[in-house]
Symmetry: C2
Subunit: 400 residues, 2 copies
């Protein structure tokens, strides 16, 4: 007889099982669901040499405990990299994190208690929803393309605003400089924290980079080191490789200290080996050397996906070609189209994409899908889209 | 004019600043506070070669995203390593974590809501208190050396029990096999989860290893894969090096799945590079080759510390020589001796140790200190103890 075990925390009943669903699919599945980079872009030989050199040159630093807030040299490099004339950053503005996801986790730990408000762009990155789920927040959703948007109304009374201004996950949309500035001004006026989550900023295929919100915020502050309301989050996962699990938060010193206190109880420190590799790779210009090839590859894949979609998916979906990032967001023309059901049929047809419901904090929005174009070669993308069209036709014929 | 920022979560007001205090001390400080390994024990050349080989041989695995619950081969290896005749483990019993601390964080996330009870051995590992602070638990403390201890009374109604049976942090005490068995039996009878936190198990200097609590629990269960109440946590930080940030949780499949769901929103996955290094190092017997030298070195340092303590600290403190681990726990003879105040004087004298207040969830126990012996060579340990005696004499003379 087994006695009753203590109950799990209530938030566990609300987690998504989308990942488990994908893993249960067969080996011939074309995976267009995740935000995965193309492994052929990984600079393996350079990273192998750097890894060995980092251990040999300073084993105490590479293999021992690191400071909770990160290796000082890496914090200094990141502060210099993101500084501009109007944005003055020092080491105290930088926290090294165990990849971008940890920044979201630490943010929830230091700012959320149950029932507090997050003003989040809708649809919202699944990982952010996952990270904050345990704190039972209330979401105040806003659409960045809503012409009637009033940033002060959006931010007032929230613990923080959350945006992915560059090639948003999931929509791939670029937030224009006008709205960036208005959101930052509203954050300065209301005092509300404003999270600028920017994993995709360097993956731009057309046009020129827009100013970061933290840069705009810096120009609105005084002469000292940055102490404004924007909390900027970046990662090496898309710039170099995800397997290093290196990310960073740039914010005012009080926020950095709070998040470091939370990190102390989360994983103590990010590893010295991976931080050392990141430091040397960034110092040596690895990102600048590899990025042009990555961008050319991904631009061609984006175009291949959009071409195939035009051929096969136009009867059911509308979409815009994204100027950057990893995803195309396709919205069904029929408001009653159910992409949760589409996913079931798509898996049977041998393809997976991500249904919009997981990007809705309330789970009810089932009209769109997110399609990744970075992982697969053009012929696989075309075949995946063909399979997706089969599933869409079956759904409309009353299947599932 | 800066508007008021949203408040930080209340738990942040309760964090310890012990680490910041140490960092503020001067460069001549002898650090006997942290649980730091001796860097000269790090197998740097072997790990440099392994790191490069892991990247070259399988760049997709080393540099890409890993499964949330860990590399299957590493989970299989750990399952095999901890299996015994009575304890049947499969991959589903193992979660790879970003070092031991993350196991404690994930445990809090899946089991704690404010006001719930943790039955924790007293004094309690500071990192565990840190990891669970944000959940505002209620501590039911128990002393493993209390002869009147009733394990069922201790565990009944708690979400989990927490023990470090091997060379406990901070006391260095070994929990005997009798109490291990009684605690496990009580966990089976009450249903309460029982955490066996075991970072120091391989660092034993005298005598033979005692059976793990999860091994005792396995023998009480049925024929299938382990599904009992013990949650075992281990780490490579003390067995090989801390800089890899690799740890593991071994538990029943439902607990592993819950903790993996929490890990998904914490850091998505542990890096493929460091998991690959851990896998190859364990497969190649690196731990078995390096451990004898580490144990000989640390045994000599333990003896050097205890000799110096006998010479200099006997007027003020009592202690036992630990048979393993990294620490000596010294309790003041005078119940009014205040080790928080001692620390201030010790820092001025050029040495730091950890005061007992940080190991008390309520913060009030100020009669003891934890002294680390693994980081420093014998002459530094002796000098550190001499400085500590200067501080103790000054405290008793009315200083601070």
């Amino acid at each position: 007889m087994t006695p009753v075990r203590p109950a799990f925390a209530p938030w566990l009943a609300t987690t998504n099982n989308i990942t488990a669903g994908f893993l249960a699919a067969g080996p011939n599945l074309i995976n267009m669901a995740g935000g995965l980079p193309a492994p052929e872009t990984f600079p393996a030989e350079e990273l192998a040499e750097i890894a060995a050199a980092v251990v040999r040159d300073n084993p105490g630093q590479a293999l021992g405990y690191s400071p909770v807030d990160g290796l000082p040299a890496l914090r200094d490099l990141l502060a210099a990299r993101f500084s501009t004339e109007g944005l003055r950053l020092t080491r105290e503005n930088v926290l090294v994190t165990t990849a971008g996801m940890q920044g979201l986790d630490l943010l929830g730990k230091v700012l959320l208690t149950p029932g507090q408000v997050i003003a989040a762009q809708f649809p919202t990155y699944l990982g952010a929803i996952d990270a904050w789920r345990m704190h039972a927040p209330v979401y105040r959703s806003f659409a960045p393309d809503d012409n009637a948007l009033d940033p002060e109304v959006v931010l007032a009374g929230a613990q923080f605003g959350y945006m992915v201004p560059n090639f948003s996950n999931p929509t791939g949309r670029l937030v224009g400089v006008g709205l960036r500035r208005r959101m930052v001004e509203a954050a300065h006026r209301t005092g509300t924290w404003l999270v600028e989550d920017d994993p995709y900023g360097t993956l731009q295929y057309d046009g020129v980079a827009l100013p970061r919100m933290i840069t705009l915020s810096g120009a609105m502050g005084d002469e000292g080191p940055y102490d404004g309301p924007v909390i900027y989050m970046g990662t090496l996962s898309k710039e170099i490789v995800p397997g290093l699990r290196i990310g960073w938060v740039i914010a005012g010193p009080a926020m950095i200290r709070a998040m470091a206190a939370a990190k102390q109880g989360s994983d103590m420190c990010t590893g010295g080996l991976t931080q050392g590799i990141a430091l040397r790779a960034l110092q040596g210009g690895l990102m600048e050397r590899t990025q042009p090839g990555v961008i050319a590859l991904y631009r061609a894949r984006r175009d291949a996906l959009c071409d195939a979609m035009a051929t096969h998916l136009a009867p059911w979906f509308d979409w815009e070609t994204p100027v950057g990032g990893m995803f195309v967001w396709a919205v069904a023309r029929d408001p009653a189209f159910d992409t949760d059901r589409l996913l079931g049929l798509a898996l049977k047809a041998g393809v997976c994409v991500t249904p919009s419901s997981v990007f809705d904090p309330a789970g009810g929005y089932r009209r769109a899908i997110r399609i990744n174009f970075t992982l697969n070669a053009p012929d696989r993308l075309a075949e995946g889209v063909r399979r997706l069209a089969v599933a869409a036709a079956e759904l409309q014929a009353g299947g599932a």
